[in-house]
Symmetry: C2
Subunit: 246 residues, 2 copies
């Protein structure tokens, strides 16, 4: 407990949005308010970046023919992916993987060119620039959820073909097609969990201590004293004060 800790209600909201953010593929029609879009892009701009390089670029797709061309690229890769998935090919073909034609707003996120000039924090780990773009997208994603909008990160495309379509300069690289839009409802859990593709890994499989595979000596389930819980919040759903791996 520190003096810099946010008020309980604020922490609840922050843990809630982290839990309720979903990779969204089902949208209902309707444009996004430009003021909201601006806020989301601003949230992205406040992401951390290695050496403060801010390597992210966002391309808003408002030309319908360009949107259709991106959709065609993605559909082609969905089929390539299914074919590459062997025994799970049919399962992949049944998955809803994108909502490019339905979403109200389509963005492409890319790494900018000329990144080799940035060395701080990247000499041995040049891929840190990509981490910065991912953090920016995660900011945008969380802000979108708070605004009541769904977002899906589609990475099913040939990056060189998408780069050509959007006139990316040599050295720039698209890393995400972001479908953003209104939804009837948010999935109660990740869609790939609902359809049985995979399950959420228990915490103890992903947290070690002092070396790979050595179990962490953290309590399995930690609840704060009830008196510290924020008042007037529903139990269940986000449960930020009670962090068992459910």
């Amino acid at each position: 407990m520190t003096e810099h800790r946010y008020p309980d209600d604020d922490r609840v909201a922050i843990y809630r949005v982290i839990r309720e953010r979903r990779d969204t593929r089902h949208f209902r029609p309707g444009a996004i308010d430009p003021a909201v879009l601006q806020r989301l892009l601003e949230a992205a701009r406040f992401a951390p970046s290695v050496g403060y390089m801010q390597p992210w670029r966002f391309i808003r797709i408002t030309d319908p023919s360009l949107r259709r061309a991106i959709h065609a690229l993605v559909r082609a890769e969905c089929e390539e992916t299914a074919a590459a998935c062997g025994e799970r090919a049919e399962e992949v073909r049944r998955l809803k993987l994108e909502g490019i034609l339905e979403c109200g707003e389509l963005l492409v996120a890319a790494l900018t060119e000329g990144r080799e000039r940035y060395i701080l924090g990247r000499r041995t780990l040049p891929e840190m620039d990509l981490c910065s773009v991912a953090c920016a997208i995660q900011n945008l994603w969380l802000a979108a959820r708070a605004e009541g909008l769904g977002m899906g990160w589609v990475s099913l495309f040939e990056p060189d073909e998408l780069a050509q379509l959007l006139n990316l300069p040599e050295g720039a690289r698209p890393v995400a097609v972001l479908c953003l839009g209104h939804v009837d409802a948010f999935y109660p859990e990740p869609l790939l969990e609902t359809v049985g593709w995979d399950t959420r890994r228990p915490a103890e499989e992903t947290v070690f201590e002092n070396g790979w595979g050595r179990p962490a000596k953290l309590p399995k389930r930690v609840c704060e004293k009830r008196s510290e819980r924020p008042e007037g919040k529903e139990p269940g759903a986000q449960k930020p004060e009670c962090t068992s791996g459910t």
Copy 2:
């Protein structure tokens, strides 16, 4: 405006934490409450991941000798980086780049092994696994800020040496040394801005429309109607409703 939009106060808190998160290198002593640490790791666990692969692993460093060994690795790379920075070498040497020995809690984040088995969303963009780890770290970072704790993402190390130190299996790769701890104060702006290393890029340089370099036709400054602003919040600081690029 949708029915899924969070209440104004909650949105304010979420935009606030996005703006107030800082890459932190100055810590004051003091352990982290295990319940808080558990919440932070749980926030990471709820990150998005490509094909739901959840490729992140976190290693908590509680052994002081291991912490010192990690510190030595990082200091060595700081010097290599400075030397590689040519005319900015002395500037790099003066930068405070990590707080490994001072922070209350040290974590290493890594990509797990065996990732080649995951194809969905990665056939053409295998690096999406790294994006998933970055999103998990960003969740943890935002949650830490809300808990009043600072965090720094240090990427100054030789990954193979750190992998060896922590017995990572073949194919796993460390991507972050995370310093987490109490702070006297949060930087009012990114430290690399304060010391004159670089400045925040204006929004119009990072958002295009329908193709690289084509200016987006979004309003430069968008404020919601005053009546829509949350009540009882101080102006200034986060200003979530008013998104000019300042």
